[in-house]
């Protein structure tokens, strides 16, 4: 299933925050959205998943999601959004409980996603016992459990320290290499964008518009820490964004 954004525009009252964004999200690819703070990248992600409605334009699903998909558009949040009163297993099975299936089937799905995210030994732990990186792994496992057609990742690594971020990027690449998934990945971190994105979409500052679309052809599994190619791309992205980021930083917040 592909996603097409068709001339999305949005305003809060008189303030126009987004203008004429059209974009195709091809299946099996990771599309990274980068831009200065306040450019509306997280808002755009909420439009794609149907948590908010744009003022103009529409989000289209091209084709039907596959049969066994339980929740086509599935989020991974920056703040993990785990239920603190449920164990790791409980948090994953939460999203399966509303779907009719036998309990053995549910258990086997939970087992499968926990082993894919290397969390098998932590099934009985409560979120408060886990580090930030582990919590985000649980959130990723939970997202995988519903077999999403598109994963909507809202700054998933931004709340983590830089070492944990490296580890999780490797994990995401490994997950994608085993079974390619479609993802829209919002980040302000250009290093993440060039490591994980097949396509990097650069948004301008408010009102958010597409400034440039960068295609990175190097296979994900060949991209490593400190790769000179990626560094070059990252520098290019930064030159695109620097002035905007500075202007965005100096802006007064009035919304």
């Amino acid at each position: 299933m592909d996603i097409r954004l068709d001339a999305i525009g949005h305003s809060y009252g008189d303030v126009e925050v987004m203008r004429d964004i059209s974009l195709d999200i091809p299946s099996g690819k990771i599309v990274c959205l980068v831009g200065p703070s306040g450019c509306g990248k997280s808002t755009l992600l909420r439009f794609i998943g149907g948590l908010e409605k744009p003022t103009t334009g529409q989000v289209l699903q091209m084709g039907a999601p596959s049969e066994d998909c339980l929740n086509p558009l599935t989020y991974v949040f920056q703040d993990f959004a785990l239920l603190p009163w449920r164990t790791v297993r409980g948090n994953v099975s939460l999203v399966l409980e509303d779907h009719p299936m036998s309990s053995t089937r549910r258990e086997s799905i939970v087992d499968d996603v926990l082993s894919r995210t290397r969390l098998t030994d932590f099934g009985a732990a409560l979120p408060k016992q886990l580090s930030g990186g582990m919590k985000q792994r649980v959130a990723i496992a939970r997202a995988l459990a519903v077999r999403p057609a598109v994963m909507l990742m809202d700054e998933p690594l931004s709340a983590l320290d830089s070492q944990t971020r490296e580890l999780l990027m490797d994990d995401l690449i490994a997950l994608w290499t085993r079974t390619p998934f479609t993802a829209v990945y919002v980040t302000h971190n250009l290093a993440e964008a060039v490591r994980l994105g097949h396509v990097v979409v650069v948004l301008s500052r408010r009102p958010g518009q597409i400034r440039e679309i960068l295609h990175l052809d190097k296979p994900l599994e060949e991209r490593g820490f400190g790769d000179p190619d990626l560094d070059r791309q990252q520098r290019h992205l930064w030159t695109l964004m620097r002035d905007e980021a500075r202007a965005a930083d100096a802006e007064l917040l009035d919304v």
């Binding site: 998943g49 948590l51 339980l70 929740n71 558009l73 599935t74 989020y75 949040f77 703040d79 959004a81 239920l83 603190p84 009163w85 449920r86 939460l94 999203v95 409980e97 509303d98 409560l126 979120p127 408060k128 939970r142 519903v146």
Partner: protein
């Protein structure tokens, strides 16, 4: 090397401002107060008219227990407390959750609750006697009404405080409305509801005495009021101690419940 350059330890200034559990201090303060009252009344610098001797109060209490009257008074009081508090807290939690979930209910009921909250419920006792009869009905109603309002306010505050990101997560995974309420909103509101219950149950004990002012033959409240009318300070204090113990017991059991239900909190 001059004296100014000599190494010196950095002074520690990070102490204080943290609470530590010193359980025995509470008991020590209690014991000290009791000893003070006992010694004072025995020596005579506290007149027996102003304060009964703690040992006499204990004696009264023992008589009460030995004669079997303790249970005669305690049983109806506990029944009133249980029925009244259960009705009030139950209705209060239900109303609070509805106010927390539905904007229309909130718009309609929160002013009503705000208007009911400051009414001294004791003043309404005659009204309840007319409405629900002089028997148990009016007593249940007074206690229920008194626990209802604080429970409502605590509950809808707790529902409001449930982490919105968790609710958004539930919606984004396509969870049904009832699942979101049952699995996200209610457990998330539980800490606030329980701490509200602490206050409501203390109010229930206060109102128990008020409820037994009219048309109660037995009951701790009736016992205290009768002793008060006769200026029988030993019996008055014996009754007050029972209520106080009841309060400690209730607060302790809510503490246990919190530890069980809220184990997930750090």
């Amino acid at each position: 090397m001059s004296e100014r350059d000599a190494p010196s330890t950095v002074p520690f200034r990070g102490g204080g401002f943290t609470t530590r559990p010193y359980r025995w201090v509470g008991f020590a303060v209690f014991a000290l107060l009791l000893v003070f009252a006992e010694v004072g009344t025995r020596i005579g610098f506290i007149s027996p008219l102003t304060l009964p001797r703690p040992s006499d109060v204990l004696g009264t209490f023992r008589d009460l227990y030995a004669s079997g009257m303790l249970w005669t008074h305690l049983a109806p009081s506990l029944t009133r407390l249980c029925v009244g508090a259960l009705l009030g807290a139950g209705a209060g939690i239900a109303t609070g959750v509805l106010i927390g979930l539905f904007s229309y209910v909130r718009a309609g009921l929160s002013p009503v609750v705000a208007a009911l909250f400051p009414i001294p419920k004791i003043a309404l006792l005659p009204l309840f006697v007319i409405w629900f009869g002089i028997d148990e009905g009016s007593k249940y109603a007074l206690i229920a009404f008194g626990t209802f309002t604080p429970t409502v306010v605590a509950t809808y505050g707790a529902v409001d405080n449930v982490d919105r990101t968790l609710i958004r997560m539930g919606q984004s995974f396509g969870l049904s409305w009832i699942s979101i309420v049952r699995k996200i909103v209610l457990p998330g509101a539980m800490p606030g509801i329980l701490s509200g219950l602490r206050i409501s149950l203390a109010i229930a004990i206060i109102l128990l005495v008020a409820a037994e002012m009219l048309g109660a033959e037995h009951g701790i409240g009736a016992y205290i009021l009768e002793a008060g009318a006769l200026f029988d300070l030993e019996r008055l204090f014996a009754g007050v101690v029972i209520l106080s113990l009841l309060g400690v017991l209730l607060s302790f059991s809510i503490g246990l419940l919190e530890r069980r239900v809220l184990r997930w909190r750090s």
